[in-house]
């Protein structure tokens, strides 16, 4: 018994000596300070770059961009560290608190202002020039700026569009090249696309909350966010009432249980009713195209802007995205910026767009991607729709005045949708709670 333990212990100690228990080697030096890193790497500045892109799809693309950067100059060497999606930011916070952050990180664009306010990002205003800020969609640059200081450069974004099944359109006697343009048309088309068997629907023509959430429809109805940056609350307004009534009418038609079952299929992400033809139209993140491309062989689908509440109201859509930023306390912000600037230049952005079919923040690179030979005809069509849709796309950065406003509003919205609260009193309640929240934070 003793011998066994001794052997186990000995072998682990030997194993341990191989790695993991050695401190202060060159791999860690970039954390503890740029100057030490420079010594270890022939006077090169070593930058530690954290992303959550580890998949076989994305990793080779970002690694290629990094290699290109490293070869493009001889002062900086960037090293890529994959860190799990979502948890990467927990890790980043701990690292910032300990004064030991990475040099560049990919982070959420919606919360740049909050991190700026909390002092978690190094401002990069002094390095940025107009050529650089002019690269990106205005709404993305706005979200990366806080109190006249630039804190990050946008990397990629997304937008919500309408996907519809062209074959089912034809089958229902609709013109597959004429997607619905208003909510009213959506309902009309849905009625024609529905397939009803007794009390249940074999096919759902369209239900607003498949794919999209209430927040998208509120945004679409209002044409702006229901909480403005200055704290004004627009929940208890006519367009929002109309949005909820419209959603509830549709829900009444299909029945709560049917919807729940379809949505749960999407949520567990292990089967897809749109691919299966059980849902004819839905509003989704445009990136959904990649799944259609990869997992369906001959699904004949079309894309269109989100229909508007009424003619002239606008096809407002919602987007998010990611930025590259320098965490507070990074050892060499100027070198970090140099890399960020490279990440967001035309070539790198076009390469990213083409290889990943991802909507990039660089406007011109995105436009070039619409003609990319890397995409199929369908791919170019969707990408073009994505680019055009950016004119309608709003970003809703979390306002400093009430960062967690959605946490207050969403439960109320949910209770309206699930029928526990009626629209009138629910929205009135949401309005006053949000106003209170803003008041409390002032």
């Amino acid at each position: 018994m003793k011998k066994i333990f001794f052997l186990v212990f000995l072998s682990t100690v030997i194993l341990g000596a191989c790695g993991g228990f050695t401190t202060g080697d060159s791999d860690t030096s970039s954390d503890s300070g740029g100057s030490e890193g420079a010594e270890a790497q022939d006077e090169k500045i070593v930058l530690d770059f954290w992303t959550f892109w580890g998949s076989e799809q994305r990793r080779p693309v970002i690694d290629q961009i990094i290699t290109d950067f490293n070869e493009s100059q001889d002062e900086i060497e960037v090293r890529h560290t994959y860190t799990p999606w979502g948890d990467i930011w927990t890790k980043n916070l701990a690292a910032i608190a300990a004064g030991d952050p990475p040099d560049v990180i990919i982070n959420d664009i919606m919360t740049v202002k909050l991190r700026a306010e909390e002092g978690q990002i190094e401002p990069i205003t002094e390095y940025v020039d107009e050529e650089v800020t002019g690269r990106f969609y205005d709404q993305m640059m706005d979200a990366s700026t806080h109190e006249d200081e630039v804190y990050a450069l946008p990397f990629n974004t997304d937008t919500q569009i309408l996907f519809y099944n062209k074959d089912l359109f034809e089958e229902a006697g609709l013109d597959p090249e004429q997607p619905p343009e208003t909510w009213e048309e959506l309902d009309e088309y849905a009625g024609q696309l529905d397939v009803q068997e007794g009390d249940t629907y074999e096919r759902i023509g369209f239900y607003p909350l498949i794919g999209a959430g209430t927040d998208v429809w509120i945004l679409n109805a209002l044409g702006e966010n229901y909480l403005q940056e200055d704290g004004e609350v627009l929940v208890d307004t006519e367009p929002v009432h109309e949005a909820f009534n419209w959603i509830l009418d549709s829900q009444e038609k299909y029945g709560q249980s049917q919807i729940t079952s379809v949505n749960s299929q999407f949520e567990n992400a292990q089967q897809d009713p749109f691919m299966a033809g059980d849902v004819a139209m839905m509003v989704q993140n445009a990136n959904y195209y990649v799944q259609l491309r990869d997992f369906t062989e001959d699904l004949n689908f079309g894309v269109a802007p989100i229909p508007e509440r009424e003619p002239g109201n606008g096809n407002t859509s919602w987007g998010g995205g990611f930025v590259a930023e320098v965490p507070m306390g990074a050892s060499n912000p100027e070198a970090s910026y140099e890399f960020i600037e490279y990440l967001t230049n035309y070539d790198a952005q076009l390469y990213w767009a083409e290889q990943n079919f991802d909507l990039v923040a660089h406007e011109e690179a995105g436009v070039s991607a619409t003609e990319s030979g890397e995409f199929t005809d369908a791919g170019r069509e969707v990408y073009t729709q994505m680019i055009e849709n950016m004119d309608n796309t709003l970003l809703t950065p979390q306002p400093v005045i009430a960062p967690d406003y959605a946490g207050t509003a969403n439960p109320i919205f949910e209770s309206i949708v699930s029928g526990n609260t009626d629209v009138e009193s629910g929205l009135e309640n949401a309005q006053s709670e949000l106003e209170q929240l803003v008041e409390d934070n002032r």
């Binding site: 186990v8 341990g16 560290t81 860190t83 701990a94 608190a97 300990a98 292990q270 990869d294």
Partner: protein
């Protein structure tokens, strides 16, 4: 007195209930196996077919290609072995002291040790990280392994209860023969609390093998990553590669299952021990 027919009836009812229960328990595992052998296309097509249309063993090979599974396996094993050893022996050593050696302030000290259980781990997370960062130990295994050698209140408490069960007369007798406390600890007390030692070993094995947050925070170098971090590669922002994730998860789960069968006896007594102590 006994009605054998009735007995038989209840026995079969029992058996059926157990079978149904076992099915419920094992169904998710079967589902994992099923998904791990499907193509992603088939997964997205949906349907609840347990047997895949095209069985793809290549998913398992793909996991090895996408992540350095073997490296992560060695890393995880190394951390696990050290943590389990530390947890078992250090805590036993401390517990023995609290149970069998009289010294001034023993009870007070014990209460202080126990009171550390009141602090939720998340509260000490960032301060602990800052300490390790100042010591220059971030991006090494020390922050993951060292705490195991510094005692854990719950394990100390558990083992102390067991050491208390070792008769004082035996210890006195050994002392009379000239044995010191080290000798008594290793030769007499430890063998007598073996079930409790296994309990601590098994539970700390489970904890550290499946630990995600610790490696996430402390390891920056991908060559040092553990299996739990490596598996996350298959989960991205908008899509998950379920087939690879399940194949990888099964391979991570495999050693746990093997250990379960080897130490089955102790696993069950272990759970009972935990149940008892928690009730007290």
């Amino acid at each position: 007195m006994y009605n054998t027919k009735k007995m038989k009836f209840w026995k079969s009812v029992n058996l059926v209930l157990l079978l149904v229960g076992a099915l419920f328990m094992i169904a998710p595992l079967f589902w994992m196996v099923s998904i791990s052998l499907k193509s992603l296309e088939e997964i997205y097509q949906g349907g609840f077919n347990f047997i895949p249309e095209n069985i793809q063993f290549s998913n398992y090979a793909a996991v090895f290609e996408i992540i350095p599974f073997f490296t992560y396996f060695v890393n995880t094993s190394m951390i696990t072995v050290l943590v389990v050893l530390g947890n078992v022996f250090v805590n036993a050593f401390i517990a023995y002291g609290f149970a069998k050696i009289q010294f001034k302030g023993r009870e007070t000290l014990f209460i202080i040790v126990l009171s550390t259980m009141m602090l939720p781990g998340f509260i000490t997370l960032i301060p602990q990280y800052v300490i390790y960062a100042n010591l220059g130990l971030v991006n090494t295994y020390y922050p993951l392994v060292l705490p195991a050698f510094l005692g854990s209140a719950f394990n100390i408490f558990l083992l102390r209860q067991f050491f208390k069960g070792v008769p004082n007369s035996m210890i006195e007798a050994a002392k009379m023969e000239g044995a010191n406390h080290f000798y008594i600890f290793f030769k007499i007390a430890l063998p007598m609390v073996k079930p409790a030692l296994f309990t601590v070993a098994i539970f700390s094995f489970n904890g550290v093998w499946n630990d995600f947050l610790g490696p996430l925070l402390y390891l920056n170098d991908e060559s040092l990553y553990t299996l739990q971090l490596g598996l996350q590669v298959f989960k991205e922002q908008s899509s998950t590669q379920w087939h690879y994730l399940m194949a990888g998860s099964l391979m991570v789960l495999f050693p746990v299952i093997v250990l379960f069968f080897i130490f089955q006896k102790y696993f069950i007594t272990g759970s009972n021990i935990l149940g008892q102590t928690e009730e007290k």
